[in-house]
C-alpha cells in the first residue's frame, strides 16, 4: 500500500558506485549542485548540463540502479515541474523571443503573451538543477548503506567540531532517521491492515468514517514511534554511547584510488566544460 513512498531504499551491490566511500559520493553531489548553480548563470551554454547528466547516467548504468525505481519516484517531480513551466514562461521579463496573441475572447482581448529568452533559460536551468539533485540523491541513497551514509556525514562534519558542531550526534541522528523509515513504514502497513480487518476504510466511505479511520492509525503510530525512541535511547545509553568521546567508524576507512580518481576527474571535467563549452 505504501510501496511508492519516495524514500531512497538501499539496494545492496558490489558495483564501483557501491564501492565508493559515502563521503566521496556526498562531496560529488555537493560539487554537482555548485557547478550547476554556476552554469545556470551562463545563459544558453549546455556543456556542463550535458556532461553532468552523462555522468549521472553512467552512474545509474554502472551502479545497476533499476530504472523503473527511479522513474516511479520521479514522476511526481516531473508533473510538478511541468505545471510550473507555462507560468514561468509567461511571467519572466527580459528580451523578447516571441509574442503570442493578443486573442479575441468573448468580445474582449486577451494577451499578448510575451515569451522571453530569460524565461526559457530559467525553465531549462531550474529543471536541470532539480532533476540533477534529485537523480544524484537517488543514486546516493540507493547505492550507499544508511550506516555508511551516516558515517560519511560524520567524517565531513568532523572539522567543524572545533566550532562545537556536534558532528557525531548529527551522524547518529541521520542514521536513526534513515534506519527507521522502513521500520515505521512497515509498522504503518501492519496497522492499516489491522484496522482494515476491523472494518476500517481509509479510501472510500463517508468523510466522518474516514477521519475516524485516520485517528485509529495516528494514535498507535505515534505511540509505537515514541516507544521505539524510548527503547532505542535506552539501548544506546546501555552500550555506553558517548563515554569514550569519539565513535569509531566501521565503513568509512581511507579513501581509495577509485575515490581519488572520482574526486579529481569529475570536478576537473565539469570545470573544463564550464569554461570551454
Amino acid at each position: 500500500m505504501l510501496d511508492n513512498l519516495p524514500v531512497g531504499i538501499y539496494i545492496a551491490g558490489t558495483s564501483p558506485i557501491h564501492e565508493l566511500r559515502a563521503r566521496t559520493k556526498l562531496l560529488l553531489l555537493c560539487w554537482f549542485a555548485l557547478i550547476i548553480f554556476a552554469a545556470n548563470h551562463n545563459d544558453f551554454h549546455f556543456g556542463v548540463y550535458l556532461l553532468s547528466f552523462g555522468l549521472l547516467a553512467l552512474a545509474i548504468l554502472v551502479g545497476r540502479v533499476p530504472f523503473g525505481y527511479i522513474w516511479r519516484r520521479m514522476r511526481l517531480l516531473l508533473v510538478l515541474l511541468a505545471l510550473g513551466i507555462p507560468f514561468t514562461l509567461m511571467f519572466t521579463p527580459g528580451d523578447t523571443w516571441h509574442t503570442f496573441g493578443p486573442w479575441d475572447v468573448l468580445g474582449g482581448s486577451l494577451g499578448p503573451v510575451i515569451v522571453t529568452y530569460d524565461g526559457i533559460w530559467f525553465v531549462i536551468s531550474l529543471g536541470a538543477i532539480f532533476l540533477l539533485l534529485f537523480l544524484g540523491s537517488m543514486i546516493l541513497t540507493m547505492t550507499t548503506s544508511p550506516v555508511a551514509l551516516a558515517e560519511g556525514i560524520v567524517v565531513l562534519l568532523r572539522p567543524l567540531r572545533r566550532f562545537r558542531v556536534p558532528a557525531d550526534e548529527f551522524g547518529l541522528m541521520t542514521l536513526v532517521a534513515l534506519r527507521f523509515i522502513p521500520v515505521l513504514v512497515q509498522e504503518t502497513e501492519q496497522l492499516i491492515k489491522a484496522q482494515v480487518s476491523r472494518g476500517a476504510n481509509f479510501t472510500t466511505g463517508p468523510v466522518g468514517a474516514r477521519i475516524r479511520g485516520a485517528g485509529s492509525l495516528l494514535v498507535p503510530m505515534l505511540q509505537g514511534a515514541l516507544r521505539r525512541a524510548e527503547d532505542l535511547s535506552m539501548a544506546i545509553e546501555v552500550r555506553g554511547y558517548g563515554v569514550s568521546g569519539e565513535a569509531t567508524l566501521l565503513h568509512e576507512g581511507r579513501l581509495r584510488l577509485l575515490d581519488w580518481l572520482a574526486l579529481l576527474l569529475i570536478p576537473a571535467a565539469t570545470l573544463l566544460a564550464y569554461f570551454k563549452l
Binding site: G68, A194, V196, R198, S216, P220, G224
Partner: protein, 293 residues
C-alpha cells in the same frame, strides 16, 4: 464457512529487485467448524498465508476461495472484501499495539460502528465481546483507557475488538507470543469456549507445535513458503524427522515416542496426549517382558 486454497503463490513487490516469493504452490482446505493450526518458523510464510483469508492480500498465483468468494478474482469488489472481513476476523501479532481509542468501550466498538449498527446493538456487542474474553463489562472497565491496562489485558481488549464484529471464522496470528503461562492457558481456554459455544472456525498461527497441538485438529506445517506437512496431529507427530527438517521442535511427547521406537520399543506414533503416551510406553514395556528390565 470453509477456506480453500489452491496452488497459492504470493510474491511481494513483484517485478522489482526486492521481489520475494513468500508462498509457493500451497494448497490446503479448512472445513467449517474446524480448528486448524498453521505452523512454521519465522519467515516461513504463515502470516502471508492467513492474510489471504480475509482479502488483505491477493494471490499472485493460484486461488483462495473463502466461503464461496474467490478472493483474488478480478470481479471481487471492495464491498465484497469488506463483507468478508466481517465474517473472517483477523487478529494480528501483538495486537495490543493497535489499540487507539480513549476508552476500552470505544476501542471495542470501533468495528461494530463501522458496520453501521444502532447504538444499542453496538453496546450489546461490546458487552458480549468483553464477556467472551473474560474482562467483564461493568462501567469501570468500559471507561478505562486501554493504555492503563496490563499487557495481557490489552491483548484481550484487542481480541474483543475483533470478536465484536461477530466473525464466523477467527484467525489469530501468534496469539500467545509474549504472554506468561497463566495468561496463555486462559487465552486457549477462551478460544476453546468460543469454538464450543459459538461454533467458530479457528485458524491459529504459531511457531510452537506443542502449544497449539491440544486445540487444533488439523495441522499445516510451512517451511520456506511451501507446505511441508498436513494432517491431523497424531498423523504428523510421528514424523519427528520431517518436523525437525522444517526447522521446528517436535512436541516432547512425540520425541519420547520416537526415542522409544529407536530403542526398539513398539510404541504407536499416534499417541499425542500424556495419558496415551504413558499407556503406550507401559504396554510396549509389558510386551517386551523380562529383557526390558
Amino acid at each position: 464457512m470453509s477456506i480453500h486454497v489452491e496452488r497459492l503463490t504470493h510474491i511481494y513487490h513483484p517485478n522489482t529487485p526486492r521481489a520475494r516469493t513468500a508462498l509457493r504452490d500451497v494448497s490446503l482446505s479448512i472445513e467449517d467448524g474446524a480448528c486448524a493450526a498453521i505452523i512454521g518458523v519465522t519467515g516461513s510464510g504463515k502470516s502471508t498465508l492467513v492474510q489471504h483469508f480475509n482479502g488483505l492480500l491477493r494471490p499472485t498465483g493460484g486461488r483462495v476461495v473463502v466461503d464461496g468468494l474467490d478472493v483474488g478474482a478480478r470481479e471481487t469488489r471492495g464491498a465484497d472484501l469488506q463483507a468478508l472481513r466481517q465474517r473472517v476476523g483477523l487478529l494480528f501479532q501483538f495486537p495490543e499495539a493497535q489499540l487507539f481509542a480513549a476508552t476500552v468501550y470505544d476501542d471495542v466498538a470501533f468495528g461494530p460502528r463501522q458496520l453501521g449498527l444502532s447504538p444499542s446493538a453496538v453496546r450489546a456487542r461490546v458487552a458480549w465481546a468483553l464477556d467472551a474474553v473474560a474482562l467483564g463489562h461493568d462501567d469501570a472497565v468500559l471507561a478505562r483507557s486501554p493504555f492503563a491496562l496490563s499487557g495481557g489485558q490489552r491483548r484481550r481488549v484487542a481480541l474483543a475488538g475483533v470478536l465484536a464484529m461477530r466473525p464466523r471464522t477467527l484467525v489469530l496470528d501468534e496469539p500467545s507470543a509474549g504472554l506468561d503461562a497463566e495468561a496463555r492457558a486462559e487465552l486457549y481456554a477462551q478460544l476453546r469456549t468460543l469454538r464450543r459455544e459459538h461454533g467458530l472456525t479457528l485458524v491459529l498461527v504459531s511457531h510452537d507445535m506443542s502449544e497449539v497441538a491440544e486445540l487444533a485438529d488439523q495441522l499445516f506445517v510451512l517451511a520456506d513458503g511451501e507446505l511441508r506437512l498436513a494432517g491431523a496431529p497424531h498423523q504428523i507427530f510421528g514424523d519427528t524427522e520431517a518436523i525437525i527438517a522444517a526447522g521446528l521442535l517436535p512436541p516432547p511427547l512425540a520425541l519420547v515416542g520416537a526415542l522409544a521406537r529407536a530403542r526398539g520399543l513398539a510404541v504407536a506414533p499416534d499417541a499425542t496426549t500424556l495419558d496415551a503416551t504413558t499407556n503406550a510406553l507401559l504396554a510396549a514395556l509389558e510386551g517386551r517382558g523380562d529383557d526390558a528390565r
